[in-house]
Symmetry: C2
Subunit: 420 residues, 2 copies
């Protein structure tokens, strides 16, 4: 069997460790040159395949590829671009297979969330029907930790560590000033539908008096009166109150506390500003001095405080994806299986994309305390190992030494235009 | 000369390294037990002296005191409490001296900004007049870097490093998604009057295409049209635009942008800070998809990414303060003197409090580019060494192992009530 090329693309919101998965893919492929001649990477994700704009990773040095392991963001460019259904836009899928055929691409590694797993699954099917079967392997990535089957998602452990550390640090700041200054501090974190990231804030403390004193999960309908009552109690008891709020926090009717009114390419509402909304409630009803932080992209790009567990797992799923492809698998995704909790041990397992595609894993109710404002010991046991270990990037002159690719384009073979 | 006690207090907004100064004070005092029997620390800053509520640091182990070096926030409690002028409230100053006399306190170490240096200076004078002369030594601390005389302030280097690293990381995130997602990212940082912290964001890049593309300083009057023009140019040239904005950004008439009272898409008054205001300008006039982060307390408590230079200097000024007191000095503050720039070398010098008290050091105009949106090479040379080196705290189970004091109170000797 002669060597074919592989295509790798990053999809959706990037993470602190998605490039570690890319590193795992490329380094592993390079060990199997007899089977995978080159890894082409989509410039700006799947758009790069549709427009035949691919990066020749063979033109990147071993040193550069190794440095991807400690570089946040999406080094090849990612895209919020969801292929429509087959019925709606068959042309996009056919174009993909055309480009793959023109570049002798026999392996498709798609690094993304559940939307992307749907795409990878469809490409797997249609490529077969078009007589150019491509091994399609999903590689899990999402800070939201909302993929099913896998015990956790690469990308989540690092944002969880960032949120836990930031909550701990800000709480020390607030506690030391509460006598004469800020009483209420609010940290807004990501997690549109699932409260995993907000839950991670709960790792900052374990006793009732420890921050965070209140977590607002998307899974628990927001009740203003109960919330304000709790804030008041905390300030009376501890002299201050630290709140972690998910951007997806919502009322019982499903309305987000803060809805910006705009929508992204997937039709999701663009959120932002829930911390300010919560702060104004505290100000209006309780009159406490408050401050709030909005972590936004800082949380998902904070490679400087990445979880070593997360980095290892991100690399491992990239590596496993290549090995699965070489074993002849297609339509699957490597998943992380928790083998034991204490000590924490995990291994890579395999799951069909159909079990992942378009499904969301919410924070289970048993991970949230009865009153809805905290995490349970079970949740803590689940989360704790995922933030464990530090994996610092190298520094030069006080700044992380992140790598930039040369990004040499692969010569076009079709040259035909395709509008996305 | 028999040993006397010392009093140490933290004042104003805390930093990632103010406890490193406390560590320097206490460890150095412990080496001179023949002169300094004990260091009493004010619980909640100077309020602890006024209310005779002091922490007995001799009850804290050497290990705990050493751990202050890597613990953010104010371990003894700080206060936003400025003593009034002597004319207005002589009673407060007299009370301080009374408490000092009752507890045989011959040394007063006040760790704060320019307000605190004013207080320390006054206590030095009045204690002499009251026949109980106390050696009053200021210890510089402020994230704002706005103290005069000293080359830089402990606390600033770490927030500068946090802002530079965060800007770099978020920019990689935005760059990788800009094809289909966010075009404009805004990071709001502290610095109400001086643009030092905003300037530090400029360290994230050096070429024109590098982020941040725009810095909004309090020192440069905000001109909306010029700003929006520049944002548009950046997006056209680089496909994205990263902006670092100081919370103190203001119009030519001195009005803060954050107070400008803009409205969101629904006609609601815009909540929150300057980042949201700037974001809404970008949305309304340019229509680009945007995101913003508000670093707030995260930036000044981020001990996990502290500058090693900053930690060393924070410790050094604490140590020097004790040594100065033991040399018989009073009414002075240890300052940092830059001896050479390349290689960066510094030493501790001494300055009278009268030269520090109530004065602010603004970012000089020559540190800001002609167009007002960037830092100059001179500014870069000044800032670069201050963020150099990493000084990671120890971790346990994925979280920094920050210390909490026992905080055993010193037995009251006066017992009289004093209302603050």
């Amino acid at each position: 069997m002669s060597a074919m090329n592989a295509f790798y693309a990053q999809s959706g919101g990037v993470t602190a460790v998605i490039n570690a998965s890319a590193c795992g893919v490329i380094e592993t492929a390079r060990k199997h040159k007899n089977r995978i001649a080159n890894v082409y990477a989509g410039r700006n994700g799947i758009i790069g395949a549709l427009t035949e704009d691919m990066i020749d990773t063979n033109r990147e040095s071993a040193r550069t590829i190794a440095a991807l392991r400690h570089t946040p963001g999406g080094a090849f460019g990612s895209a919020r671009f969801k292929l429509k259904s087959l019925a709606e836009n068959r042309a996009e899928y056919e174009r993909l297979v055309e480009v793959f055929r023109a570049h002798n691409i026999g392996y498709f590694f798609y690094n993304g969330g559940n939307d992307s797993m749907d795409t990878a699954h469809k490409v797997s099917q249609i490529s077969k029907r078009m007589g150019f079967p491509v091994a399609c392997i999903g590689i899990p990535k999402t800070v939201d930790n909302d993929l099913p089957v896998t015990d956790n998602c690469p990308g989540f452990g690092s944002v969880a560590k960032y949120v836990a550390v930031s909550t701990l640090e800000a709480a020390l700041d607030v506690a030391s000033m509460s006598k004469t200054s800020t009483k209420v501090f609010i940290l807004e974190v990501m997690g549109r539908h699932a409260g995993w990231i907000a839950a991670a804030g709960g790792l900052a403390g374990s006793a009732p008096r420890d921050a965070p004193h209140i977590i607002l999960f998307p899974e628990i309908p927001f009740r203003k009166a109960a919330f304000l009552k709790r804030v008041g109690e905390c300030v009376r008891k501890y002299d201050y109150c630290v709140i972690v709020v998910s951007e997806g926090a919502q009322y019982a009717n499903g309305q987000f506390l803060a809805e910006a009114g705009t929508r992204d390419a997937f039709g999701h509402a663009q959120l932002g500003g829930v911390a300010a909304v919560v702060a104004s409630m505290v100000r209006d009803k309780l009159g406490f001095k408050y401050h709030y932080a909005v972590a936004d992209y800082l949380q998902r790009s904070a490679r400087h405080i990445a979880s070593a567990t997360d980095v290892k797992q991100a690399y491992a799923v990239g590596k496993a994806a290549v090995l699965m492809a070489l074993e002849g698998k297609s339509g699957v995704m490597p998943v992380i299986k928790r083998v034991s909790e204490q000590p924490y041990r995990w291994r890579i397992d395999v799951a069909p994309l159909t079990r992942i595609a378009n499904k969301e894993k919410m924070l289970p109710r048993r991970y949230i305390s009865k009153d809805g404002f905290a995490i349970t010991p079970a949740c803590r046991r689940y989360l704790a190992p995922l933030i464990r270990g530090e994996d610092y990037p190298p520094y030069i002159n006080g700044l992380p030494d992140y790598v930039t690719l040369k990004g040499v384009p692969v010569r076009k073979r079709l040259g035909t235009k395709f509008m996305v």
